[in-house]
Amino acid sequence: MRMAFAVLNPFAGVLVFVTTMLAFSASPHAQQPDAVAISVKGHHFQPAEIRAPANRPLILRVKNLDATPMEFESVSLRVEKVVAPGGEGVINIRPLAPGRYEFMDDFHQETRGTLIVQ
C-alpha cells in the first residue's frame, strides 16, 4: 500500500527523485579538474591546438574576444555552448581517452580547432 501511495502522489515522487539526485551529485569529486584556456579573436581560435592529459576531468575556458556571439561546439566532446561577445564560457569535460577532438564555432564554421589528449 505504501508503494501505491508513492505512485499516486506526484509530490512524493518528485521529493524522492530530487533527494536521490542530490545524494548522487554530492558524491565526492575524485579529481580536481585541469583548466585549459582558449580564446577566439577575428574568428580564429587562439591557440588553434590545445593539449590536455588523458583520463582527467577538464575545465575548458573559452573567451570570446569578438563583437559577435559564438557557439563552441564539438560533436566528439559532446559540447555545445554559446559564448556572448566579450564573454567567457566555462565548459566541464569528463575524463577523456587519448586522441584528437575537433571543435568549432558553430556560428562561423570555418573557425576550427583541435584538443589533443595524451
Binding site: 505512485v7 506526484p10 558524491s27 559532446r78 554559446v82 566541464n92
Partner: protein
C-alpha cells in the same frame, strides 16, 4: 547562404516537430490556435530576451547558467506533458466515447491546453535562442552583400522548419480518430522521457549530476545525433548516440512513471467516471 539555411533549419526543425505534435493533439479543441500561437510568440520573445542576456546567463552559477536554465525549462516541459497525458488518460477516453459531449470536449481539452502552450513556448525558446544569436551576429558583422544572403538563408531555413511542423501535423491527422488518442499519448510519453534525458545531459554538463557517467552505447557511426534522422529521433523518442547510464536511467524512470500515473489515474470504465477528487 546554404550554411545559414542549415544552421537555422537544424534549430527550427525540433521546435517544428513539437509544435506539429501539439497541434495534432489539440485538434478540435476550441481556441487552440490562440494558445499555440501565443506559445510560439512567447517562445520567440523569450528567445530574444535570453539572447540579449546571454552573457549574464552564461556567467551565472559559475559559468553553468546556460545548462541549468536549459535543464530547468526542459523540466517544466516534462511536468506539463506528464500532466496532459495523465489528465487525458482520466478524461480523454470518456470524452471521446460520448458524442454528446462535443461541447464539453472543448472545455475539457482546454484544461491542459495551457500546459501544452508552455511546452510549445519552451521548445521555441530553446531552439529560437540560437537562431536569434546567430542572426544577430550576422547583422552586427555583416559586410555588404554577405549579410543579406545569410539572412535569406536564415529565413528559408525558418520556412522549412514551418514545413516540418505542417508535415508532422498532417501526417498525424491521417491516423484514424479512434487511434489518434493512443498514438499521441505514446508520442507525448516518449517526448517527455526524451526531454528528461536531455535535461539530465545538461545537468551533467554543468557538473550538477556526476553519478553513473559511463557511456552505455556508442552508435555515433551508425546513426549520429547530428544527422537529420538522428535529430528527429532525438526529439521524438530522446535518441542519443552516446547516452550515459544516468541519462538512460532517468529516461526509463520518467517513461515508467508516466505510464504508471496514466494507469493509476486513468479510468478503465468510462461509464463509471466520477468527478476527480
Amino acid at each position: 547562404m546554404l550554411a545559414a539555411l542549415i544552421i537555422v533549419f537544424r534549430e527550427v526543425f525540433e521546435a517544428g516537430l513539437i509544435v506539429g505534435i501539439v497541434m495534432a493533439v489539440t485538434r478540435g479543441v476550441g481556441h487552440r490556435g490562440s494558445w499555440i500561437g501565443g506559445g510560439v510568440l512567447v517562445g520567440v520573445l523569450g528567445a530574444s530576451l535570453v539572447a540579449v542576456f546571454a552573457g549574464a546567463l552564461s556567467a551565472a552559477f559559475a559559468g553553468t547558467g546556460q545548462e541549468l536554465f536549459n535543464a530547468a525549462i526542459l523540466g517544466v516541459a516534462v511536468v506539463m506533458l506528464t500532466w496532459h497525458n495523465v489528465w487525458m488518460a482520466r478524461h480523454g477516453r470518456a470524452l471521446a466515447a460520448e458524442i454528446r459531449a462535443a461541447g464539453e470536449a472543448v472545455v475539457a481539452g482546454s484544461k491542459t491546453l495551457a500546459g501544452l502552450a508552455v511546452v510549445v513556448g519552451v521548445a521555441v525558446l530553446r531552439e529560437g535562442f540560437e537562431v536569434v544569436l546567430f542572426l544577430y551576429g550576422v547583422v552586427v558583422s555583416s559586410e555588404a552583400g554577405v549579410g543579406v544572403s545569410i539572412l535569406v538563408g536564415g529565413i528559408v531555413g525558418m520556412l522549412l522548419g514551418g514545413g516540418v511542423c505542417a508535415l508532422t501535423y498532417w501526417g498525424l491527422l491521417t491516423i484514424p480518430t479512434r487511434h489518434l488518442f493512443s498514438v499521441t499519448s505514446a508520442l507525448i510519453a516518449f517526448l517527455a522521457a526524451g526531454m528528461a534525458a536531455q535535461a539530465t545531459a545538461f545537468l551533467e554538463r554543468a557538473n550538477t549530476v556526476t553519478a553513473l557517467p559511463q557511456v552505455v552505447w556508442d552508435s555515433s557511426l551508425i546513426l549520429p545525433d547530428t544527422s537529420i534522422l538522428g535529430r528527429a529521433l532525438h526529439t521524438l523518442i530522446g535518441y542519443s548516440d552516446r547516452p550515459t547510464a544516468m541519462q538512460l536511467t532517468v529516461y526509463l524512470a520518467v517513461l515508467g512513471s508516466i505510464l504508471l500515473l496514466m494507469r493509476a489515474f486513468g479510468s478503465p470504465r468510462p461509464l463509471t467516471t466520477r468527478a476527480q477528487a
